[in-house]
Symmetry: C2
Subunit: 226 residues, 2 copies
DNA sequence: TTCATAGTTAAGTATAGAATGAAGTATTCC
DNA sequence: GGAATACTTCATTCTATACTTAACTATGAA
């Protein structure tokens, strides 16, 4: 048991492979070349490392033409990477270090498969404020008014509740260190916003950008000034 | 940000340091010598590695005479190690591989600071069965009868609820892959059982043993045949 | 068909950093 | 006091494995 644990740790512990995992935390699949670029190494080298991660079942791969798309093979792997990201000490935000000095990734990013960062926290605050969700013993619950709200918003709560994965759970975000909504509801909200073009993913980064439409909608639905 | 993540990953990724973390997952503090023995290496080497883990704030240390006791410096670190342990593939349990063939650690162990393994899962099942706790959207809640039960059992719910840390949360155990109760209630139950000598910790292992008294009490309170 | 791109495989090298050996400081116990 | 134990520091050695160079297959486009 212990030796298997050590193997898993060593696998993620190599700098190049850690860089791969960091990139994949985004939740999207990346090609070998993209991963080589973001890890700043050669294609041969990344190929070797991806081989090891595949072998250990930490990643899975999908072939599309001459491209190969790599992603985490399951949630458990993402949890490891997220929990490691959570170890990173929060940077001191003094009046000198204005938000503008930080990369946008800090303010609007996805956390594996849900919305995290400042926007995720603000969104959660707004849902709490509007009593759409309520906090109870460090978990979130959807209120009865909340159920109506989600349905109006275009998200089928009953459907989501049927899914196996945790329905509505808090996720301690490593950049904000505040709970925000993860779970299937988090995923549904994220997808809804992507589909409706409130937000767009950026290439090669876990950051997302808010569109003009998104700005208006965030204000309207969540009273969030972007 | 990424480089800090990579450093953290590399820190845990070294085999000797991973072994240290594995041992500390127990939740207890260990001396440098104990860690050297369990990691099967020299005192000098363990000292070097402990220095690095301290430097990175993954561990903290408490001096007691000529001994130095090392432990995780916070919950976040334990979460990383637990989530990594969770990656270990569950061994196939066929009729040939009888439970007896597995080391006791699998059946009765602590999970950082609460009761895990078969006994932890059985305990949780019993609490659910007796409607002391109820499952709701993948989280646990204490019923009103449950509050009385805990008070009779000698655990002050109101006091526990005041504590900052998560009060009652499920923990996916890596050996059983079943939810069981973690959080402050988990800790209180564990401590109660240790104090009342239902169970005892074993040296140099995360396993715990059940005492004769414990056997009777587990049967009486939880209908668990040990 | 030819060229370009995406990715892999294999053999050889280089180096980071883990382990070792020797020598030191504290602390406890007799 | 002296011996034993717990732990650390530093200089040196060693080695696992990440990375490189080179040659390969496979897909797609011109």
């Amino acid at each position: 048991m212990e030796d298997q644990f050590i193997k898993a740790a060593a696998l993620i512990g190599d700098p190049t492979r850690a860089s791969i995992m960091w990139t994949l935390l985004d939740g999207r699949a990346f090609t070998a070349t993209e991963l080589a670029i973001s890890a700043n190494t050669s294609p041969q080298n990344i190929s070797m490392h991806l081989g090891k991660l595949l072998e250990a079942n930490l990643l899975c791969v999908e072939k599309q033409g001459r491209h190969k798309y790599y992603r985490f093979s399951n949630k458990e792997v993402a949890y490891v990477v997220e929990s490691m990201a959570n170890l990173i000490p929060k940077p001191e935000i003094s009046s000198k270090n204005k938000p503008e000095n930080y990369p946008p990734v800090k303010y609007c990013r996805t956390c594996y498969d849900h919305l995290a960062g400042k926007i995720g926290v603000a969104l959660t605050d707004s849902l709490l404020e509007q009593k759409i969700i309520i906090e109870k013993n460090n978990t979130f619950e959807i209120s009865s008014e909340g159920k109506k709200w989600f349905s109006d918003f275009g998200i089928n709560i009953e459907e989501a509740q049927k899914q196996k994965r945790i329905f509505l759970k808090p996720c301690l975000d490593w950049s904000e260190r505040r709970n925000h909504i993860a779970g299937s509801i988090g995923t549904l909200l994220l997808n809804k916003m992507l589909n409706e073009d409130w937000i767009r993913r950026t290439a090669n980064s876990r950051a997302i950008v808010i569109t003009g439409k998104g700005e208006k909608e965030f204000l309207k639905y969540f009273k969030i000034v972007v």
